[in-house]
Symmetry: C2
Subunit: 279 residues, 2 copies
């Protein structure tokens, strides 16, 4: 089949690499606002040609939307306007606003909303890698709103990417991702800002940075073009979890200020329950 | 030479593995409050025998202190009381309080204060691994207070561990580690508490947890026995950095609440400067 990738970056590129490798995609057409990105994607070999959005829609069997979520929100209605039997798979990181924007669209059934829980802190075509998705979770959102054949085609792609499927509605999805993805990025941004600020007066501070620091701050390398639209579309949930997180930090602060080390110990012990979740 | 490891956990065990492998340590004597830990260390083969602290001090050429920092603070003066020409290497994660406790000790010169910037979120003898220290930084603290021969022996060990040496005074060390190590642990503890709390009402929340979440929260697996004494001894610095970090998070909260996405974008962009530091 012919696959169009709208947004030739980390997600679109990584999907294209695997779909070409497995010969699922006979041809991959790249669409991107940036000519430099298209050129790079071509050089890297994961797109066969580039085209305008309109041309790609008309020629492809399946259209993967892998651009930032503000762009998805802006163009999805007009993409559905142009679709006959093609399948459109929205792979964005937020869902509720996007689902609302096309809820009553006559071609809503051709859309499959799916969020691959996979990524790195890097972006752009050079960031695309084989096996990015392997073993990860694909979240289908409001799957009952998709036509059966459209869902089946999307699910075949999910299987080729070797992902595990789970199902949720859009509101659940956005709340859950705020708690297990968006907040992680915001704490990293804030931690980077904290330490970079201190470096101005204490130049040597990073000489001591080890793997623990790197682990908690690496997401601060993430692109503002991708993340500003995510927090914008998921503002209410992000504000809720950020409020809770600040409360937990303030509690640790207060307990330490009061030199209540028994309570500090108990709070660390309680946080250790995360071992149940993480491998 | 004969090496005594006081505290047969992640750090002591990992050092013993390498020093035995490289035949630097003819014999490793383990000292620990826990008989189960000593038995395990013996089974794992990184100690040759166990002994009381007193006996280990009298028989060893070099004594590595790799127990939690409250234990180091409590026993270091009496260890130095028992030392003649042996070398004591304090490998704890905080320094100022410990340095003050032995500042006027007649045997202060036999002590080398060194902090290996290496570790994982795991603890205990089973956590010990070969090559934990390789390529990492060893921070020597107040090195001019050590006798030349004591420092040279400690530095030979640092070279066998294939670490890179840097030098600082105790106050600098404690401030810097608050910014690039201790705060990373505290944000992970708080993030784990935030999400575990939410899980109580939203059971499915962890189904979506990916590598970004794991990265920012894995340090919350760290032992309260190790970390409560660290934050206690480094309380003032930890309070300072925690205050700054909460301020940065509150700023992101306020900007998002005001829907000022231009500023949010700029703050992410500014945090991206961490790319300069991280590989």
């Amino acid at each position: 089949m012919i696959v169009a990738i709208v947004g030739v970056g980390l997600i679109g590129g990584s999907a294209a690499i695997t779909l070409k490798e497995k010969k699922v995609a006979k041809k991959v057409i790249g669409v991107d606002r940036s000519d430099a990105n298209l050129k790079k994607a071509h050089q890297l070999g994961f797109i066969d040609e580039s085209a305008s959005l309109e041309e790609a829609i008309s020629r492809a069997d399946v259209i993967l939307l892998t651009m930032p979520v503000d762009a998805i929100l802006a163009v999805l209605p007009s993409i559905l306007d142009q679709v006959s039997n093609q399948v459109v798979i929205d792979m964005g990181s937020t869902k509720a606003a996007i689902m609302r924007a096309v809820a009553d669209h006559p071609k809503r059934g051709r859309l499959v909303a799916a969020h691959p829980m996979a990524g790195t802190e890097y972006s752009g075509p050079e960031a695309a890698v084989a096996n990015l998705f392997k073993g990860k979770v694909m979240v289908y959102v409001d799957a009952t709103q998709s036509d059966d054949d459209a869902f089946d085609l999307a699910d075949a792609i999910t299987e080729h990417l070797e992902m595990q499927a789970i199902f949720m509605n859009a509101e659940e999805h956005d709340m859950h991702t705020a708690y297990v993805s968006h907040i992680s990025h915001i704490t990293s941004f804030a931690l980077a800002l904290t330490v970079l600020e201190k470096e101005k007066s204490q130049g040597r501070i990073f000489e001591l940075a080890g793997s623990g620091f790197e682990s908690t701050v690496r997401l601060a390398k993430s692109s503002p073009d991708m993340w500003t639209p995510i927090v914008r579309q998921n503002r209410d949930n992000v504000l809720e979890v950020l409020h809770e997180h600040i409360k937990q930090l303030q509690q640790l602060y207060d307990v330490l200020e009061q030199e209540d080390y028994d309570t500090f110990y108990k709070l660390i012990k309680k946080s250790n329950k995360i071992r149940r979740i993480l491998k």
